[in-house]
């Protein structure tokens, strides 16, 4: 549906986007994920028409988008700051886009009423944005974006201004809404949990490049590059050289078990990544595993995070265990994992 083809954009010396190509399908919930300054917002602004790429093509259902001015694109953008018009009431804000289409007054009124109902703000139609809470403002912005029934809805960090509780509610709300209205959603976010819980597919951005495009589960379990492995979710990373089919050879620890994602030339630089929940804590007399001592235990309710200081490894190894942890700080332990639970990837210079 939306095709982004070889788009590049530089600001002076900074390369915001470097030959980015993506294809987003009809009705998909797609996330652009990356640290701040990685170019994801620039891409969003190019699609919305507030930025022009130096090179590349953007088409929507085969139609060229770049030649159209922003107000002639069938795309809605929900701004990070919401950009609600402070001098208009909630109802006026929502009606603004419909009034621009010169629809009959009766139809505008009806559609505004419906969409306010959907986001649960019917009682607040007469208020000004300044009289609303952050979560309510966010829902007004959402209502204003979807009331035009755009073919594509872009969301720029939609939940970043909300506190944690409201955010979880709004995530569910967004999902429900997307199912209901069937619009293609593209959401920009730096929060990988948000991206994973919302999106059907995620594109991970770094320094203006797309590093990986995949479904959340594949992205989490089979990161294809060190950046993705480190950025998406918590991970324990070990460096070494490729050591065949069952792991890497580490200078400090010898052979570490893992499964290569692709064919690796033996002896090449490689990285092994293992998720905290895949690591097992064993007592210090276990035959296998890296010896270390427990630094800290944090209890999160359903899970506990245990950080283990392993001599020779720069960062503490993070282990997630179900429920309350049986160990205390200072305890001597060994950490170990199965080869199938760790991934090995090539490190490209």
């Amino acid at each position: 549906m939306l095709r982004i083809d070889g788009v590049s954009r530089r600001f002076g010396d900074v390369i915001a986007l470097d030959d980015v190509s993506l294809e987003i399908g009809q009705g998909e919930f797609f996330a652009l994920l990356g640290p701040s300054g990685c170019g994801k917002t620039t891409l969003l602004r190019i699609v919305a028409g507030f930025e022009t790429p130096d090179a590349g093509k953007v088409t929507l259902d085969g139609e060229d988008l770049l030649s159209r001015p922003p107000n002639r694109r069938p795309i809605s953008l929900m701004f990070q700051s919401y950009a609600l018009f402070p001098h208009m009431t909630v109802a006026k804000n929502v009606a603004y886009g419909l009034e621009r289409e010169r629809l009959p007054r009766q139809e505008i009124k009806q559609r505004v009423g419906e969409v306010l109902e959907t986001v649960g703000l019917s009682a607040h139609a007469g208020r000004k944005p300044a009289q609303l809470s952050g979560g309510q403002r966010q829902r007004v912005a959402l209502a204003r974006s979807i009331v035009k029934r755009p073919r594509l809805l872009l969301l720029d960090e939609p939940l970043s201004a909300l506190d944690k509780k409201v955010r979880a509610d709004m995530q569910l709300e967004l999902k429900r809404l997307q199912n209901e209205v069937g619009i293609t959603f593209v959401v920009v976010t730096h929060d990988q949990e948000e991206a994973m819980s919302l999106a059907d597919r995620i594109a991970v951005f770094d320094s203006g490049k797309v590093r990986q495009v995949d479904e959340p589960i594949s992205l989490y379990e089979r990161p294809s590059s060190p950046f993705v492995a480190d950025f998406v979710g918590a991970n324990n990373l070990f460096t070494g050289t490729a050591g065949g089919l069952d792991g890497i050879r580490s200078e400090q620890f010898g052979m570490l078990p893992g499964t290569p994602l692709s064919e690796l030339t033996a002896g090449a630089q490689a990285l092994l990544a293992v998720r905290p929940e895949k690591i097992e804590l064993a007592d210090e007399n276990a035959t296998r595993g890296l010896a270390g001592s427990v630094l800290d235990v944090s209890f999160y309710g359903g899970v506990s995070h245990v950080s283990v200081d392993v001599p020779g490894h720069a960062k503490p190894v993070l282990v997630a265990v179900q429920g309350a942890a049986a160990v205390r700080p200072g305890a001597k332990v060994k950490v170990r994992w199965e080869a199938r639970d760790a991934v090995v990837m090539a490190v490209d210079q």
Binding site: P70, N71, I75, L84, F85, H87, Y96, R100, K148
Partner: protein, 288 residues
């Protein structure tokens, strides 16, 4: 316990009020001595008769107010209103785009542009008015320039047009600065949101930019209108003897005709017009 807390907070708020009074007293004293007292004196003379050789005869009369309604004087007030309104409108038409462009400049150039706007204030007001005489006079720069294109000469000096030109030149910065402040505060994302929702550039201006910068428009208009309306230097120098504004009339009543009571009445009329405008401005600004 509770009453103690309450007593303390009352004492504190009383102390705060006292502190505020101490800090405000120099300004208040200045206002009372140099504004309220003279104003009261001025207003009191409006109901008295003029003396035969100047001065005031303390004898109640309403003749000053009756004279005010004389078409001769009323015409001057109306003319002044027209000139001040025209000046304000042109200043708004020139000032808004100027302020808009400055507000959207990169930060470094903003400062340069703002300094350039304020720069004329560093030269004496009278000297700048004289400069306009040079420019607009018969063989002046404007006519010589027109001659190059085979046009003119036109008679500008000593017309109402010259007065408007002079006032506009003098007070345009007072329009640009508040407008700049209002436009600079405007979130550029609001105009983007408007475009995203399908509005053309003109619609965005009409529906979003202008309403949100209305306080700046009102303040700037007031800043230009008030000194233009009561001005007497510019009309004196550029308007010649043909056109006279209410400011000149007031000055002439005090200094030439020696009719203080009528001069005071005219001054009162001027103040009333301006106060009405101020109140209207703050009412509109509060609603925006």
């Amino acid at each position: 316990m509770k009453s103690e807390v309450k007593a303390r907070s009352v004492a504190r708020s009383r102390g705060r009020r006292l502190g505020a009074f101490v800090f405000l007293s120099p300004g208040l004293a200045y206002l009372v001595v140099f504004m309220l007292v003279p104003l009261a004196l001025l207003l009191s003379t409006t109901v008295f008769r003029r003396g035969r050789f100047g001065g005031v005869v303390y004898e109640f009369t309403t003749e000053n107010f009756e004279r005010l309604l004389d078409p001769l004087y009323l015409g001057v007030v109306v003319d002044s209103l027209k000139i001040a309104t025209l000046t304000t409108l042109i200043a708004l038409l020139i000032g808004y785009p100027t302020a808009y462009v400055i507000a959207r400049l990169p930060r470094k150039w903003k400062t340069v542009a703002l300094v350039a706007i304020v720069l004329p204030f560093w030269t004496n007001f009278l000297i700048r008015a004289y400069a306009w005489i040079m420019l607009l006079s018969g063989p002046g720069l404007v006519n010589s320039a027109l001659k190059v294109f085979g046009l003119g000469p036109i008679e500008v000096l000593y017309t109402q047009g010259a007065i408007v030109t002079g006032l506009l030149y003098s007070y345009l910065p007072l329009m640009v600065l508040p407008l700049y402040a209002a436009i600079d505060r405007l979130d550029p994302q609001l105009t983007e949101a408007s475009a995203n929702l399908g509005a053309s550039g003109f619609t965005t201006f009409r529906k979003v930019t202008l309403p949100l910068t209305m306080p700046g428009v009102l303040t700037g208009s007031l800043f230009v209108f008030v000194p233009s309306f009561g001005n007497f230097v510019i009309p004196e120098m550029l308007g010649g003897s043909k056109s006279i504004m209410v400011g000149n009339l007031i000055r002439d009543q005090f200094l030439k005709a020696r009719d203080w009571p009528f001069g005071s009445t005219l001054a009162l009329a001027l103040i009333v017009v301006l106060v009405v405008l101020l109140v209207a401005q703050s009412w509109v600004a509060r609603r925006a």
